[in-house]
Symmetry: C2
Subunit: 61 residues, 2 copies
């Protein structure tokens, strides 16, 4: 599978907020994040960077 884990950059920390992310869509000032299990989260952030071979998505508030 080609999903990735989403981490929120907070200062020097990168905190895992959702595993196995499929889609991320803008939703006003927020992001709507959905994973392959049908779970959803809304996070006040934007997509900062990607490292897909490492399965990592970095978000920043």
């Amino acid at each position: 599978m080609c999903e990735a884990n989403a981490y929120l950059i907070e200062g020097d920390d990168k905190n895992l907020i959702m595993e196995a992310v499929d889609t991320i869509e803008p939703d006003g000032d927020n992001l709507l994040i959905c994973n392959i299990f049908g779970e959803q989260k809304v996070v006040k952030a934007s997509i900062h960077s990607l490292s897909l071979v490492d399965h990592k998505i970095y978000l920043k508030g």
Copy 2:
């Protein structure tokens, strides 16, 4: 492999700008996009949305 194709949203169009993207990093107002073949592009855009199971990354200028 878990790379994806990067498309630039321009009006109603979504134009493919790089296949097999591994990493995207901010570079000032631009994005530095690198694929698994070692190719690099700098694009004046931000990461708009993701659909990873479909192997798609959408960028917006």
